[in-house]
Symmetry: C2
Subunit: 621 residues, 2 copies
Amino acid sequence: MSLRELLLGKPLRSDDEQVEQIGPLSGVPFLGLDAIASASYGPEAALTVLLPLGVLSCNYIAPITACILGILLAVFFSYRQTIPAYPQGGGSFTVAKENLGRITGLLAGSALCIDYVLNVAVAISAGVGALVSVIPSLLPATLWICLGVLFTLMLVNLRGVRTTGIIFMLPTYLFVLCLGAAIIIGIAKIILNGGHPAPLSPLPKLPTTLHSAGAWLLLRSFASGCTALTGVEAVSNAVPVFRRPKVKLAKRTLAIIVAILAFLLVGVAFISRSYGITATVPGKPGYQSVLSQIVSAVTGRGPFYFISMAAILMVLALSANTSFADFPRVCRVMALEEFLPPEFARRGRRLVYSVGIIVLTILAATLLVIFGGITDRLIPLFAVGAFSAFTLSQFGMVEHWRRSHEPHARRSLILNAAGAVVTASALLVIIVSKFAEGAWIVLVILPPLMALFIGVRRYHERLHRETDKNTPLDLDRLCPPVVAVPIKRLDQPSQKALQLGLSLSDEVRVVQILAEEIEAKNLAPQWRDLIEEPIRRIHHHLPQLIVLPSTYRNFYRAFLDYLRQLGKEFPGRQIAVIIPELVERRWYHFLLHRRATWLKNSLLMKGGPEIVIITQPWYRK
Amino acid sequence: MSLRELLLGKPLRSDDEQVEQIGPLSGVPFLGLDAIASASYGPEAALTVLLPLGVLSCNYIAPITACILGILLAVFFSYRQTIPAYPQGGGSFTVAKENLGRITGLLAGSALCIDYVLNVAVAISAGVGALVSVIPSLLPATLWICLGVLFTLMLVNLRGVRTTGIIFMLPTYLFVLCLGAAIIIGIAKIILNGGHPAPLSPLPKLPTTLHSAGAWLLLRSFASGCTALTGVEAVSNAVPVFRRPKVKLAKRTLAIIVAILAFLLVGVAFISRSYGITATVPGKPGYQSVLSQIVSAVTGRGPFYFISMAAILMVLALSANTSFADFPRVCRVMALEEFLPPEFARRGRRLVYSVGIIVLTILAATLLVIFGGITDRLIPLFAVGAFSAFTLSQFGMVEHWRRSHEPHARRSLILNAAGAVVTASALLVIIVSKFAEGAWIVLVILPPLMALFIGVRRYHERLHRETDKNTPLDLDRLCPPVVAVPIKRLDQPSQKALQLGLSLSDEVRVVQILAEEIEAKNLAPQWRDLIEEPIRRIHHHLPQLIVLPSTYRNFYRAFLDYLRQLGKEFPGRQIAVIIPELVERRWYHFLLHRRATWLKNSLLMKGGPEIVIITQPWYRK
């Protein structure tokens, strides 16, 4: 078993696809990890913005959560309609492209791509950051741990869909169970204590500042809280990974994910309000995350607390995986439209889109390296991509229903239109309120990224225009090529090349270039006995031996000059250059002779259309 | 004019060699810089070892310098005899190889190679170190300045011999003039003052320790002082760079270099003794180099002092250049013996051995990067290589004269034998006294380096054994190959490939592999009209269209499997695979289609000896 097989598993047959398909049980961890994990940072982000309000801030968490929940439901219902309408997957890109035109689709696709790359970097560094704050001695290795997690995610995803779903099942459900249990116990305690329970662990104290809450502050808090919704689109992008009946299972999976997320958001908001839990200042002494405060207030700092914290940490780091599930699929549909090279649309040995997975890894690794594994500053950039995609996808669905003649089209149109308006408003709020914090960066990156995609497409279009041909094969000048064999000595590889040349053409030129005196071994004496004699005997045209001096010791140039001259001598005929190439058993032996490679490249680049290059391998013993 | 031409100059014709040859005036800077510059660190190194003796140390500098001078003369006389005996250059390697056997020659060559690489790194970092101690704000950029100097040296040397000689003339002669003037003025003052002159600048004070000088201390001081002799062999390695009469000019150049070096060594020793100048502790506050003390004591700290210091600094950094002159030439003669790939023996566009220059740059850059630009610790390693080469070369000359029947052979033999004994003893002293300081490292590196060279030679020998052929060309099975054309679409490049295939053979197979559904465009309908019809019309054998499904989506594997099957169908015939390859005008467009390259490589590596690969370029507009 090779290392590759050990890491990636045996190759899967194309008709094994069925085996690599999943149901809701592994679909929730595979596609929902990002959405569910965002319950751990969404409310925290909203509360952090409210910090200037001090203890009053927990009064505002309920209405803000209600707004977010409203958007979540709008998004849910519209993606629920997208799944059966576009069962081939592709989500926002496909929906926007089909209904609003290719460029709008590209905008949605580009926004999603940026979002996914950011998500990988931010999620991993958040998880590793939490780990490092528990075990500070790991601090110097932050970047290396981040890269290790990233590399592991890449390998797991390259192994295939099923492996990924199974591996992520445990932490996902552990996270849901722990946080769910804490919420239920908390709610029970709140009811038993008439709405004013006593925390089991002391809560951090905040100054009782009495700023009144301005609209701007509340808007910003809402915009930050919207990060809780990132990842909801994942299921609609990946419908084909489900078992049959695909649409039904995908819808069920989406419903489960949204239900879990909604329950967690509501629970967190309710408990925060009742226990009076607020955010603490990040990066300052005494900082404690909202979830940590909730769990310790409800259950105390026992083993349950630590298991919950471990689950949060794992889910944060692994929520990067949703990007690994979706990014390659978005790239695939963009490659099918020729916005990316076709490699992005090919499934690798384990039936996953390996190129997309590897490209995502490289991009995220670059971000991690640039930011040294600490990517807090990237968080504000985050929701812009997701909400752009949401909005475009909804408007696309509106257009879809407008054209459709299905029975429920009108009702569906209204649902999607409502969703579109809601997410568009949220997007506007996010862009305006987070513009200075970094949202502008996404707006700066989008145009060149789209230009790149369009450039790739134009390239492919131009290529097709140039090379497409629908006329019958032209056989007017079916004439064997003139053959040139560059040689140094009359050794076995050269003789093999000469044999091939004689079998291909009557016009064979054997070219020896005297570039340096050390190679100047005169072939003439051997030539007559070893070459000309046997050829005369079979009455074949004799090859010519051409010995060329090279004034500038540049073998390649002298040879190219000769070939040009040969081209003038035989106008209209192709010139086949036979290059004997040693094939070594050890890679480092290739370092000892680069000449064949150089010659091939220089002929290919500068030779001209009438030159074909024939490589004749000589296998070393 | 391209960037390359701007940096390296126009290519030189092979018969321009004459233009690139030099006389003693530029030969002294080109080949003597290392030897002359060592006058600035040799005496210093000897005095530093004597530090425990305090002010008494300057009493011992005279006898130690006398010993070193003795060796210098011995080395001079023997290399003076080597030049006419081996006018083709190559120095120690050639002399040892011709007279003491190939392995002994290799030992001398390897020792020299190590020495040259060390010399480049140490000389540059010494020069830059001196510069940085004058302008401390440059300290953080030490490594970058070192690499900049190294890169400049590489460019200058790649431009050719004459450029190098001319550029280095000014600093070399400035150094000799300044130091010579200081010495002559100093001697005049000593004589005028009856042997006890008063220094114009106060000298650093040393404690009057009264250790008596043990033999071990004196031996170590002598061994350190011997670094003053490195570089004397340079002229004998590079006789061919001189104008005619080569031997005479080379001898004259060597004599000038040795005379300058001897004068400087004697002068430094004499002035040190009379003025009571000793070394100061390196790296400690109050450190001042011996040459700085001499010049400031004799002439005061005026403009002359600063010009002299600048000249010393430049000469130190540029003394690396002697290695650039010699390393490629040593590599060349070793490449002629096949201990290195033949590229080392080829002259580049400016008639210099470019590969050797570039390899030396890379090795020295590696050393500089590893040691962060501060290579003091490498200095003890230094003299071992040079003295090994000296000794082996002398013993080689002894053997040469023993076999020779020339008139003065006997006298010459005695001279070289004396030289051999002297340098061998010095080598022994150096190894023993500097073993712990690092000389052992050279002894550790030598065996694997020699093993590498022998491995390369064995590789070449095996290659010749395998490929040499002195029997007539075998023409028993002169039969055109079976042609296979892998295609995706029936576009123009594919049709061009098919035309070529039809012109080469009657057996043509067009292979379409359905690796992924997106590429599955059925060719059958077009095939009949566009391909078969016109071929039928000219009564040519019809090509077969083979459509292959690929179970594992691996295009390469499926295609290789098909070729194996084809090989069984046509045993003994070659199979020519015609691969249409797009040749782009922009390099980054090549990133968009890697398939042709992958296919070629995988066919070359795994195809087998009966497969030849035909690349048909399709030039993009």
